[in-house]
Subunit: 523 residues, 2 copies
């Protein structure tokens, strides 16, 4: 697998091309799911901070940036920031509020990303909210096989789930790390699969110049774009994390600068775990996170004013008994909401996550995930990472959890629909109320008949039957139902259309770069 | 069991009295839980309706009340409403907006209820939010015994859980219906247990004059109050449901009027299932629910101006494929939020619920319950019925679910604490950030040491260990962990203190009323 795309892969690629005229293949039967859409969040965000609180967090972040400083472990970045007038002391950079705010004024508050299938274009910003698959767990877990190290076959399974579900908008990082592929060529194999198994927006890990350049080139080739077409608008993105507290490392900065220069979006997401890499107080952890995020964004806006960026939050807390990270906690929810307020203050799109500490897809997993997903809604998050499939604080990707999470994501999409709270005369339905009268029922009336097929959210993994009907049908608990759906999705999966010339170009580039040895692995 | 309290019960009552001086018994060891408190919700509610939408729902409800009318299947209520100037046509009553709004102007926007232990006094209204145990399922389910019909022993188990958890503020209806006790005396046995196994606010079912009067008398006796002391302030409450659409039945109205006359609170909760007993459109179902609720509240305010009342929402939707009721859906959430806006418009306290359609305490149960509990938070709900223990659309009470739900309730209580979003200089912690610097860690710094014990929510059923530690300890899923906690709580349960004279009075009254045959069962 590490040498070049396998015969099966090549074969599938050709089959895809051969079916290029077949437009009916979108019909999936495993479940009856919602159509693709970019959800728009109509709710006023939940705002725990008053105006004074917003100012206090802003002043805190600015104090960190101007007085304490952030380390940039990248000589190029240091040189640029020095030229920009920042105070550079070794690797420590201090930047004043005026500079930071001027740089932020260049950043767009909203941008699009257009993948090889333009119908899958997404919007990051405003009231839009898009969902990203689980990214980066080293392990997988499912009901049949238990926990095991990530591999390429499992990676591909998750890519198929990512493509299948219309409520997943972005094929983010690797859903599991395929450790059976050598790190030097892993990005080549993974991106080839990602770009052919899905037609959604893809992501590049900022793990060295070669990887970043390869992924940009592969994204360009898969879409059949010229270099200038590629750079004319966002086509893919990267997400970088700071090394909290107060550090940005070499490869993350390098990748971010490479993308920014070519007009590709960068999401900057500090990972500030209160009590470990950040203050034990939530506002302190948020202030630290903001300072780290804004520092990198200021650098990128200086390099390429107006380049698309988003600020991420990954502020949670540890379990003070064990030091273990906790997710979906009350503190996590408030940190996400506070960061949302600050993102709007800085006019930046916001990324947060769908996360939990649970090890298996049980009740705990779902209350923690519900907490984090509703915090995403309440915070006005624009991009929800790990929205489906995450377990064990990000150490496990689970297909059952993926399927279960997609039920929640669909419910959020339905929750956003105006039909759930519209108050037109037809909605208030006085004529139907008069017609049915006291003690009657609404099943048969025309008002119901006209609407019953689309009136309510229709679930695909939830079982709404009564206990006896459920028990007579085997008494299957949710994870097992999700397991069956996941298997069925894989069994019937057909890859999306791809232009055969583009696929050939992509294949040749992948093979060539693998032959060359891929990327150095001494990072 | 149906003849009189059993020897074991009498014995326990005496033991309780004998320990009256023991103040240390509050220390429970099964779990480390939060102390008793009345949570205060600091969030601005989520408001899907704009001002026009609020007016549209108000006009809709008023039109239903004045033009379509509501049936009151109670001659006394009909006579009173006729006297009040309403248009009464047979059992159909039409009331004008002026009358309704004048009656609503008498209703308090907030009130207290004081049970026999005054430390357990609760507030219903304002930003306060209290949690009620699961009420009224006919069946119980647990991991060991599966689904079975409710009985008195199981009723007592749930009463112990209700008392044990500090996050449960009210011992509401029967957590399971004890069908092994004859309906004529069931309320006597149940209330004796409720009033001795708990010291929290209790509820009376409005199921006939005798039951209501018995429960008021038992509540009075258990607290050692004179009749005038009992009536001087709310001591217990009832919850009535309309028979949607557009009907209030005899016993519910009778009980409500009896309580109102004695200054005891009445919660009016229509059960409007969109597509079945209510329009298929959510705003229509909410308008119908509001009209039914306001009709009963207007009656009570005419009878006793200023009597404490609350409006409830139980608006959800059916599964249009099967007709089965669904709970915790996106539509349920919006209906709850809309009713919250209208409750504030009418200046009435709001009741909603913690509900799900799931049959067992799995992932589906928890995402549906999370949806309904967060909708309660977002709607500004003051009283959350069924907040712990509900399954199968209310047909099952489960102790595992009870324990799991209490984890969410505690997280909501923590989420409300200002510490999670405070922005004082100590919270923003610039000194700690400077001290730790880039690449350091916060575990050891003084700022953390001063706060780590109370910095974060501490769970009791969630397992935050990593997969390997969790697996090495048996790999126990959440329902099984909850089952063990429930068993441990029962094993170590000690009833709350009760004044022995009051308990004797209560016991004698209960025995006498049972000897008299209790209440008629021809309702």
């Amino acid at each position: 697998m590490t040498e070049d795309p396998t015969p099966r892969q090549k074969e599938r690629g050709r089959r895809s091309g051969g079916r290029a005229g077949n437009q009916s293949r979108a019909g999936h039967a495993a479940i009856d799911q919602m159509p693709w859409r970019i959800p728009v969040n109509p709710d006023r965000p939940t705002e725990p901070l008053d105006a004074e609180g917003v100012q206090a967090l802003h002043r805190g972040a600015m104090h960190i940036l101007s007085e304490i400083g952030i380390e940039f472990l990248n000589p190029e970045a240091l040189a640029i920031l020095k030229q920009a007038g920042c105070r550079v002391d070794g690797e420590r950079v201090r930047m004043d509020e005026d500079f930071v705010m001027e740089m932020l004024s260049h950043a767009p508050d909203s941008f699009t990303i257009t993948p090889r299938n333009p119908d899958r274009e997404i919007v990051i910003g405003g009231r839009h909210m898009v969902f990203v698959n689980v990214s980066s767990p080293p392990n997988a877990w499912d009901l049949e096989r238990g926990k095991r190290t990530g591999d390429f076959e499992t990676f591909k399974e998750f890519m198929k789930l990512t493509q299948y579900f219309n409520c997943i908008h972005i094929a983010g990082g690797y859903p599991v790390e395929p450790v059976d592929i050598h790190p030097s060529v892993r990005h080549l194999d993974c991106l080839y699969e990602k770009l052919t198994l899905t037609d959604k927006v893809v992501h590049a890990y900022s793990l060295g110049a070669e990887r970043v350049e390869d992924v940009m080139e592969m994204t360009r080739l898969a879409a059949g774009l010229s270099h200038s077409e590629f750079e004319a608008r966002p086509r893919m993105y990267t997400n970088i994390n700071s090394v909290s507290p107060l550090k940005h490392d070499y490869p993350m900065l390098d990748g971010a600068m490479r993308l920014a220069r070519r007009g590709q979006p960068v999401v900057v997401t500090p990972f500030t775990l209160a009590g470990a890499m950040a203050p034990v107080t939530m506002a302190g952890a948020v202030a630290l996170s903001l300072a780290e995020g804004l520092a990198a964004i200021a650098l990128l806006q200086y390099i390429k004013p107006g380049c698309p960026v988003a600020i991420g939050t990954f502020t949670s807390n540890v379990d003070m008994k064990s030091g273990a990270p906790a997710f979906g906690t009350p503190e996590y929810m408030r940190a996400t909401q506070m960061t949302g307020q600050m993102a709007r203050f800085y006019k930046l799109p916001l990324r947060s996550s769908g996360v939990c500490a649970a090890n298996i897809p049980d009740g705990q997993a779902m209350w923690e995930t519900s907490n984090s997903l509703w915090a995403a809604v309440q915070s006005g998050t624009n991009m929800v990472y790990h929205a489906a499939g995450w377990l064990e604080g990000g150490l496990i990707a689970s297909p059952e959890k993926f399927v279960m999470d997609c039920e929640i994501l669909q419910m959020i999409q339905r929750y956003f629909e105006e039909a759930t709270f519209a108050t037109t005369p037809e909605d208030i339905a006085l004529d139907a109320i008069r017609e049915v009268g006291p003690g009657g029922h609404y099943f048969g009336c025309q008002h119901t008949q006209d609407r019953y097929q689309t009136a309510f959210y229709s679930p695909f993994v939830s079982d709404w039957r009564n206990y006896e009907a459920w028990a007579a049908d085997g008494g299957v608990w949710t994870p097992e139902r999700a397991h069956r759906i996941y298997k069925q999705i894989l069994a019937e999966f057909t890859p999306p259309l791809i232009n055969e010339d583009h696929r050939e170009d992509l294949y040749r580039f992948t093979a060539k770069r693998k032959q060359e040895g891929g990327a150095p692995t001494d990072f």
